[in-house]
């Protein structure tokens, strides 16, 4: 009996000792109850801007590998100061890069060309123009993939003579009269007056390339006159298309700058449209020394011309040259020239051409459908 009671008593004592110890020690070792509240917090600033453009096919056939462009006023482009020609690129709806070329980025206007692989008849495609950040698709800046012909005059080539018949006499440019300077073609010629009574005008002309008019094309020159007043009836620059119609017959359209000697008010420079059938039409718009875009649209059925200011995209003049299928399936020369149309004095003419492109033309509309900016938050927490 005693043997059983002693352990029971000892256990009871131990229990009391444990309870008392726990009572004393537990508060000392207990962790305070803490409520922690956290919030994800981050900020991002502009990464890359974008403009979504809807290109609608207005032809009655599928457009396969056509080149399109859109011109946007700078007032409609968010953060335009961040848009540089070098940070622009174009992707399709799935983010795949498209071949592109930034034709201009001036204070007032932005124009970009891009090639879309396929737009079905009665269909459309949305492309996204990115800008304002790094450009991962610089190698897609390939004008050669966009145009039938493109020349930005990185090097001087052989530009053969072509007699267009626009002026009475036509000669090739003399050696040294054509040169390349800072990525532009410099046309700098001296042209003597024609022999009195034998002819009334002398020209120097050259061909850049040829084109068969089996489709619709737009031929565009970026040019400007540099020479000032000669006081002589002359043409410091003109661009043309020309076809030989057999024998000595010429077919041509041209857009030029014409120095007109007005004896009342002195010489003035005007734009002029001309073709072999309807003669010359002088436009009552002065031609300054700034850059212009001259465009000749030619198709199997017709041709027309237009001139716009390069810096603003403002239309200066346009004119239908002909609608008589005069170039249908013909091979035309695309070129430029300078001319002296005065019989009394020689002229020293100077003009620049920055680039020339020929693009296959299609009817389409291109309009902005959205604009925005992307940014990433993974650059640190505020």
């Amino acid at each position: 009996m005693l043997c059983h009671r002693i352990p029971t008593k000892l256990g009871l004592i131990g229990l009391i000792f444990f309870l008392l110890s726990a009572l004393v020690l537990t508060p000392a070792f207990s962790v305070p109850s803490t409520n922690l509240t956290v919030q994800a917090l981050g900020s991002c600033t502009t990464d890359r801007y974008y403009i979504d453009v809807n290109v609608t096919n207005l032809e009655n056939f599928d457009l396969v590998n056509y080149t399109f462009n859109i011109t946007i006023s700078s007032e409609r482009i968010p953060a335009y100061s961040r848009l540089k020609a070098g940070n622009v690129y174009v992707v399709d709806e799935n983010g795949n890069p498209l071949y592109y070329w930034v034709m201009r980025r001036t204070r007032k206007v932005f124009t970009v060309f891009f090639r879309v692989p396929y737009i079905p008849k009665d269909g459309w495609a949305v492309v996204r123009i990115y800008y304002g950040s790094d450009n991962p698709y610089r190698k897609y800046r390939k004008p050669a993939m966009l145009f039938v012909y493109f020349n930005n005059f990185n090097s001087l080539e052989n530009y053969p003579h072509v007699d267009t018949g626009i002026f009475d006499n036509s000669n090739p440019f003399d050696p040294g009269e054509l040169s390349i300077s800072r990525g532009k073609l410099v046309i700098n010629s001296t042209i003597l007056p024609p022999f009195l009574f034998l002819s009334f005008s002398n020209a120097k002309e050259a061909r850049l390339t040829t084109l068969t008019v089996n489709d619709s094309y737009r031929i565009v020159f970026k040019f400007r006159r540099v020479s000032g007043k000669q006081g002589v009836d002359s043409y410091p620059f003109y661009m043309f298309i020309h076809a030989n119609a057999g024998g000595n017959r010429h077919r041509y359209d041209y857009i030029g700058i014409h120095e007109v000697v007005d004896w009342n008010g002195g010489p003035k420079f005007y734009f002029e449209f001309g073709n072999d059938q309807n003669g010359a039409t002088e436009v009552n718009k002065r031609a300054g020394k700034q850059y212009y875009l001259g465009e000749i649209f030619v198709s199997p059925s017709s041709s027309e011309g237009r001139i716009e200011k390069f810096s603003s995209g403002a239309l200066i003049a346009s004119q239908v040259f002909e609608t008589g299928r005069r170039f249908r399936n013909r091979e035309v020369s695309i070129g430029f020239g300078q001319a002296n149309a005065d019989i009394f004095a020689d002229v020293n003419l100077l003009a620049y051409v920055d680039w020339v492109y020929v693009v296959k033309s299609a009817e389409y509309s291109a309009e902005i459908v959205a604009a925005g900016v992307e940014c990433l938050f993974n650059q640190g927490v505020v």
């Binding site: 008593k9 009871l12 004592i13 009391i16 000792f17 008392l20 962790v31 305070p32 109850s33 803490t34 409520n35 922690l36 509240t37 956290v38 919030q39 994800a40 917090l41 981050g42 900020s43 991002c44 600033t45 502009t46 700078s74 007032e75 409609r76 482009i77 968010p78 953060a79 335009y80 100061s81 961040r82 902005i368 959205a370 604009a371 925005g372 900016v373 992307e374 940014c375 990433l376 938050f377 993974n378 650059q379 640190g380 927490v381 505020v382």
Partner: protein, 138 residues
């Protein structure tokens, strides 16, 4: 019972004596205590969030009247608060607003914010988006 009490009385007395003695023998010590605990949630020092700020343009396309911001990334959560500031080139705020992220029928996370006055596009230089997640208590 009486016998048992008598037997353990010395032991209880010894224990009480021990405790009292120990209490009396403890020197005066100043103890500084600090509450210490830890929660179970943490965030990395970067957020896996991307924002796609779509400008809501006026009819003439010359100004921004609001933004619709779409969010992607593993850290995006419904109900988070988003602040959007449109800034000019000098960092001045041209327009600002805030809203809570919600989800559309396609489960895209977005927030739509209208500005009190339209912001001319030609003054807009950059956009700042601030993301504040919901409070999580642990």
């Amino acid at each position: 019972m009486n016998r048992l009490f008598k037997r353990i009385l010395p032991l209880v007395g010894a224990l009480v004596f021990l405790m009292v003695g120990a209490a009396l023998a403890v020197p005066s010590i100043t103890v500084n205590l600090q509450k210490l605990g830890s929660g179970s949630h943490s965030f990395p020092n970067s957020l896996n969030v991307s924002a796609n700020v779509n400008f809501i343009l006026s009819k003439d396309g010359m100004s921004v009247t609001g933004v619709k911001v779409y969010f992607t990334g593993s850290d995006v959560e419904k109900g988070a608060t988003v602040y959007v500031n449109l800034l000019d080139a000098s960092g001045n705020i041209l327009g600002s607003g805030s809203g809570s992220i919600t989800q559309d029928y396609s489960n895209n996370f977005y927030v739509e914010i209208s500005f009190s006055s339209a912001v001319p596009i030609d003054q807009l230089d950059s956009v700042k988006v601030i993301y504040k997640g919901q409070e999580i208590t642990s």
